[in-house]
């Protein structure tokens, strides 16, 4: 289900944004516009949909417009044109009263530098959103403590932000956003100010939380590893434009243009590329009703030394080698079940190359990719594992 829809969103900075909008729509470049009219483009024609329960990452370098884009969603920054639809309601057309309600009830936000109130205790910080809504003290306290427990900060209620480490402060920031139980979480570079190790820890914790909460999360980052790690889908931005939207794997294996390609080239592909994108069509299989002669002929014509055997439901039974099959032909037997080697590695399509590597080293046979029901999806020959890491899986191997 679509939770949030952004349609043709533009944000222009400068004295008279509406006036130059037409020039921008006609394709004036960012530099040209700045030189000619003194207007800067924050976001140019951004359109995307975010599904319910999805982690949607917007990634780009600084100045790419990602923070501007996310601030347009709760109108911390007023978009110049375009529409934002949340649960079928237009955020852009909301009056100030409706907008307050949206900010209070539907959208929570987590900030890069935590943005906690230094004069309030942790509990009072977390309860801030509820206090703004004039909830009773009992309700505020209860929800604040629940939210703190969720982020693992129980017992810190009465301390002040300056007494906590950066990682803990951002947990408070997260708890504050969760306390009002919003549908959508906007996380603006939420973990970027943290040390790399703490950042990793927070990422995993966010994913654990997310598996329980199933919120819709829009996560802004400049860190591709982070984007690939937590994003269900990623939008890559450059100069205010969205260059590509796709799953982490689509972005890596099929970059839309040179910019994205350059961006992703340093990624540790072994962690992201999965079995499903490097597997080959299993065209060298036989079913168990075929005899040994058929097996030998197929192997010879395909120039291979072993072949997979399936049952009627396309479930894998095992593999037979050409030597065993020849022996069987010489013995004039047709019982290929007797020579099936069941010692083959089977993996799911989601297995990453990193996990495939040790298997590939340990077996002389190709690795089988099968779905949860055991139905064969494809096979991975050992050389594909290596070329997958190098990003050459498109070429014939």
């Amino acid at each position: 289900m679509v939770k949030l829809e952004v349609k043709n969103l533009y944000k222009v900075f400068g004295p008279n944004p509406k006036r130059v909008l037409k020039a921008i729509k006609n394709g004036a470049s960012k530099d040209q516009l700045l030189k000619d009219t003194g207007h800067g483009i924050g976001v140019r024609d951004a359109s995307f949909e975010v599904l319910e329960g999805e982690v949607f990452v917007i990634m780009g370098l600084s100045g790419s417009g990602k923070s501007t884009l996310v601030r347009c969603i709760n109108r911390l920054i007023e978009p110049t044109s375009g529409d934002i639809i949340l649960d079928g309601q237009s955020v852009t057309k909301s009056d100030s009263k409706e907008l307050l309600e949206i900010r209070r009830k539907k959208i929570g936000m987590v900030f890069q530098n935590f943005a906690l109130l230094p004069h309030r205790t942790i509990k009072e910080n977390v309860a801030f959103g509820l206090e703004i809504q004039a909830k009773s003290i009992e309700e505020r306290d209860k929800k604040a403590i629940d939210a703190l427990e969720m982020v693992g900060l129980k017992g810190y209620e009465d301390m002040y932000p300056s007494q906590l480490s950066g990682g803990m402060q951002q947990r408070v920031g997260l708890a504050r956003a969760l306390a009002t139980d919003p549908d959508i979480l906007l996380m603006d570079e939420a973990f970027s100010a943290l040390d790399p190790l703490i950042r990793k820890e927070m990422q995993s914790e966010l994913m654990t939380l997310q598996s329980r909460m199933q919120k819709t999360i829009i996560f802004i980052t400049h860190d591709l590893d982070e984007a690939l790690r937590i994003g269900d889908r990623i939008a890559i931005m450059k100069d205010g434009e969205i260059m590509q939207i796709g799953t982490p794997e689509e972005i890596l294996t099929d970059p839309a243009d040179d910019y994205v390609k350059e961006f992703v080239q340093d990624v540790n592909r072994a962690k992201v590329v999965t079995a499903s994108s490097i597997m080959k069509n299993p065209d060298t299989i036989i079913s168990s009703k075929d005899g040994a002669r058929v097996a030998v002929r197929r192997m010879r014509s395909a120039g291979i030394s072993s072949i997979f055997v399936l049952d009627r439901q396309r479930k894998l039974k095992g593999i037979i080698s050409i030597e065993d099959a020849m022996k069987l032909v010489k013995a004039e037997s047709n019982d290929i079940d007797s020579i099936i080697d069941k010692d083959v590695y089977t993996v799911s399509p989601d297995t990453s190359i990193e996990e495939l590597l040790p298997l590939a080293v340990n077996t002389k046979y190709p690795i089988v990719v099968a779905d949860d029901d055991g139905v064969l999806q494809g096979i991975i020959v050992r050389v594909s594992v290596l070329s997958g890491i190098l990003g050459e899986e498109d070429e014939d191997v």
Binding site: A115, I132, Y160
Partner: protein
């Protein structure tokens, strides 16, 4: 060469004001006189040793033991040189003026912080108010309110108000943008943001303004003795005009003691609030 008759225009303007706004000035005068007299009455009805203890207690609660001891010693000295009544008169005028300066100045500072046009208009006016020699305020004050305490209070309010206006505005503008952004993102109205976020975070700066306003009030109240405002300034003034060095020194000493007590207490008020922020823990 043509002489620009600015002084003449100011005189005409003041004359027009006195002629046309007489009832307004009378009302202001009555109100101010009532407030000053009320404070004076309160300070004088309390026996001096009780007053010493009250001030020492306030000093101890806010600024600690050292300031409390200093207050006791200082006030006992004042009492023993026979300037207690004058000191209380001066204190009453300082508190009245500072209070009114705060009542007008803080909202003005808030308005300045939120509105760039108001900011642009107010800044030169504040510069003017602060750099104009203090004596100059005495003349129109006398014209509008005759001689006595009220023109002294009015001149003091004008002279002492700029710091609290400036520092209120500065304090609010210095609140980090991400914090105000967060408060908007959670659905604060601008009033909620002001009272729950901006003013609490600006408090140390606002209290620094309070300290300056009180100190300026004291210095102006002393000067106002020239237009008959009585108090410690009167003692000093008599010392000067009648060449009585001893009396002048005693008056001056009492002013200094009062100034130090007020300064230490209000300064600590700001620092204490800082501590609450946890910034120095």
């Amino acid at each position: 060469m043509y002489r620009l008759p600015i002084g003449k225009y100011v005189e005409i303007f003041i004359e027009w004001l006195t002629a046309n706004l007489e009832p307004v000035f009378q009302a202001i005068k009555a109100a101010l006189l009532w407030v000053v007299t009320a404070f004076e009455w309160a300070f004088e009805i309390v026996p001096s040793y009780v007053m010493v203890l009250i001030i020492a207690l306030i000093a101890w609660r806010i600024a600690g033991k050292g300031t409390a001891i200093f207050s006791i010693v200082g006030l006992v000295i004042i009492n023993s040189i026979g300037l207690w009544a004058e000191t209380m008169q001066t204190l009453a005028m300082v508190i009245t003026s500072a209070l009114i300066a705060l009542i007008i100045g803080i909202p003005l500072g808030i308005w300045m912080s939120r509105n760039n046009v108001v900011n642009a208009i107010m800044r030169p006016i504040l510069d003017f108010m602060q750099t104009m020699p203090a004596f100059v305020y005495l003349i129109p004050a006398v014209l509008f309110f005759d001689l006595g305490k009220v023109p002294g209070v009015v001149a003091t309010i004008i002279f002492a108000m700029p710091p609290i206006v400036r520092l209120t505005s500065l304090g609010i503008r210095q609140v980090p943008e991400d914090v105000t952004e967060a408060s908007i993102a959670f659905g604060s109205t601008s009033r909620q943001m002001l009272f729950k976020v901006q003013i609490p975070l600006a408090m140390p700066t606002i209290l620094a303004g309070l300290n300056q306003t009180i100190m300026l009030s004291l210095s102006m109240v002393v000067i106002s003795s020239m237009i008959g405002a009585r108090g410690l300034g009167d003692v000093v003034l008599k010392g000067i005009t009648q060449m009585r060095i001893g009396q002048g020194f005693e008056g001056g000493l009492a002013v200094v003691i009062l100034a130090m007590i007020l300064d230490r207490i209000t300064q600590k008020l700001g620092n204490k609030n800082n501590g609450l922020n946890g910034q120095d823990t």
